[in-house]
Amino acid sequence: MEFSAAEWSAIHNSLRVGLLVVLVSLPPGVCLGYVLARHRFPGKWLLEVAVNLALVVPPVVTGYLLLQVFKPAAPVGGFLGRALGLKVAFEFPGLVVAAAVMSFPLMVRAIRLGFQSVDPNLETAARTLGAGWWRTFFTVSLPLARNGVIAGSVLAYARSLGEFGATVMLASQREGNRTIPLLVYALKDRPDGLASIWPLVAVSLLLAAGALVASEVLERKGLRHESA
């Protein structure tokens, strides 16, 4: 199978976006998932609404709002450009930001379920054995919530691969700045387009299936002892 330069660039971008989104979202996703699973505090519902908003708002609308925030003329977009030299709108970081925002609720939800499945009594037991909060978190809570973290990462990765609506608003105005879905959409209207989409479809399927297999392997590895 031969890929054109545009296709290679789209495949490359999609993979990079998927992995970067997972890496960037994991630390805040784990924190939020833990807080939402373990703590009750005033205004918690507001936090939950804020996190889940991207699930229910039409992606194009989310993309439009992101564009209003990150366009060079806006305060945030302007500041990022001046202070860090980071251009978000219409550039590669825009692909990551749009995908991260869209996939974050899915990641938090899975991680939260992971922490909820850990019996708090195990954490109590660790504390009576002399472990402080940090040691308890890293040796008991997080390892036992592992499957939730894995599931959340796979969901976020897959959602990022498929992200279109917000991305098309925030980032896609330039030839080399496309992910697989954006390129597929661009190819569709060309005279020979429909036939040339097939290889990209195959790659998409492969990337998605690969993520599922990886998560299955990781989860099994962890489960081996516990169900023995």
Binding site: T124, A125, T128, L129, G130, G132, P143, L144, E226, A228
Partner: protein, 356 residues
């Protein structure tokens, strides 16, 4: 100075209130009472995972809680080991890692050696297994070992025997006794079984509805009828200590104080001391020692307290230990039983149940 000084009050959102003060001076203290009487909450306050609304808890010379002074030590700094009823072994760690989890803590006592714990609790060969594959008794021992290895100044145990069946109960009880004898760690355990309290504890706090209704030596505190809910249950249970149990000819027997008691067949090696359990209704009282009966056990004693409960009369006979007999009101009248009466207790050997 007492080892543990406890005085806390806590009201739960449900309205249930624990309001308890006691001092533990002996090596092994039991919190005894029906389920729902607040025993586990008391352990939670001492271990530090339940913060009382008002509380002063002192362990040796250290204050674990002093709410008027704003002191509340977090659980990890209390050096109080806890064995939970459901064990809470870490399912993702091997038995060896579970045992070693709390080991890094340094207390004021000389450290307890890993190898010795494994030896005393007979955990050899379990190290690389995972909690999911252990039996109930094994889990219990691993949980106990894990708490011990954290080098606690006080060991708390929540119903250590409740989830075990009778033969296993006796084995685990003997492990507990070994642990206490070997390391001399002050222990507070929660139980609703009279047998284990009498056998294991030097001191007992009887709880009901969040309050102490009796405190003291087990013999004394467990002899009070009201705390034990006898008024609405079957009444007291006899549990007597037998020394020097052995087979003599074709008959097992042992000493109950200075008197001999014939025992049913004891299977395996008898423990010393041995306990026998029987119902007060299996005891016949006689004013004279009648000969020519098939009932082999004739134990002489003096009538102490007499209680009328649930339509029956319970008579406490002092035979060196307290032995309860259940008789009818008519029998009390006809025999003229009253405190101080000399009586003989007739107990069929077959009605005795030998424990450990």
């Amino acid at each position: 100075m007492s080892r543990l000084d406890f005085n806390c009050r806590h009201r739960f959102p449900s309205g249930f209130e624990v309001d308890l003060a006691f001092e533990a001076t002996g090596l092994v203290t039991a919190l005894f009472g029906p389920s729902g009487s607040g025993k586990t909450s008391v352990l939670g306050m001492i271990a530090g995972w339940l913060r009382p609304q008002f509380g002063r808890i002192r362990l040796g010379s250290r204050w674990l809680d002093d709410s008027p002074a704003g002191i509340h030590l977090p659980a990890e700094r209390r050096q109080v080991g806890m064995v939970f009823q459901d064990h809470w072994l870490f399912p993702h760690m091997s038995v060896g890692d579970n045992l070693g989890y709390g080991q890094r803590r340094r207390g004021s006592r000389p450290p307890i050696r890993f190898e010795r714990v494994v030896e005393v609790l007979e955990l050899e060969g379990l190290s690389s297994r995972y909690p999911g594959s252990l039996s109930g008794g094994e889990r219990q021992r691993v949980a106990l070992g894990r708490a011990l290895l954290s080098n606690p100044e006080l060991l708390l145990m929540d119903e250590p025997l409740a989830a075990l069946d009778e033969p296993l109960k006796l084995r685990v009880l003997s492990y507990l006794e070994r642990v206490v004898a070997e390391w001399n760690i002050p222990t507070l355990f929660v139980s609703h079984g009279q047998a284990e309290v009498r056998r294991f504890a030097q001191q007992v706090v009887v709880m009901e509805k969040g309050r102490a209704v009796a405190k003291g030596a087990p013999e004394e505190a467990l002899g009070q009828p009201t705390p034990l809910g006898w008024t609405h249950s079957a009444g007291p249970v006899n549990l007597l200590r037998i020394d020097g149990a052995a087979r003599r000819g074709d008959q097992w027997s042992g000493r109950l104080g200075g008197q001999e008691l014939k025992l049913p067949e004891v299977h395996g090696a008898p423990s010393h001391p041995l306990f026998v359990r029987f119902r007060p209704s299996d005891v016949t009282l006689s004013l004279e020692d009648v000969q020519g009966l098939s009932t082999r056990n004739h134990v002489r004693g003096v009538v102490g307290r007499m209680l009328e409960l649930a339509g029956g009369f319970f008579v406490a006979v002092d035979v060196g230990q307290i032995l309860w007999a259940e008789v009818t009101p008519a029998a009390v009248r006809d025999l003229g039983l009253q405190p101080g009466s000399q009586v003989t207790c007739l107990i069929k050997t077959r009605s005795l149940e030998v424990l450990g």
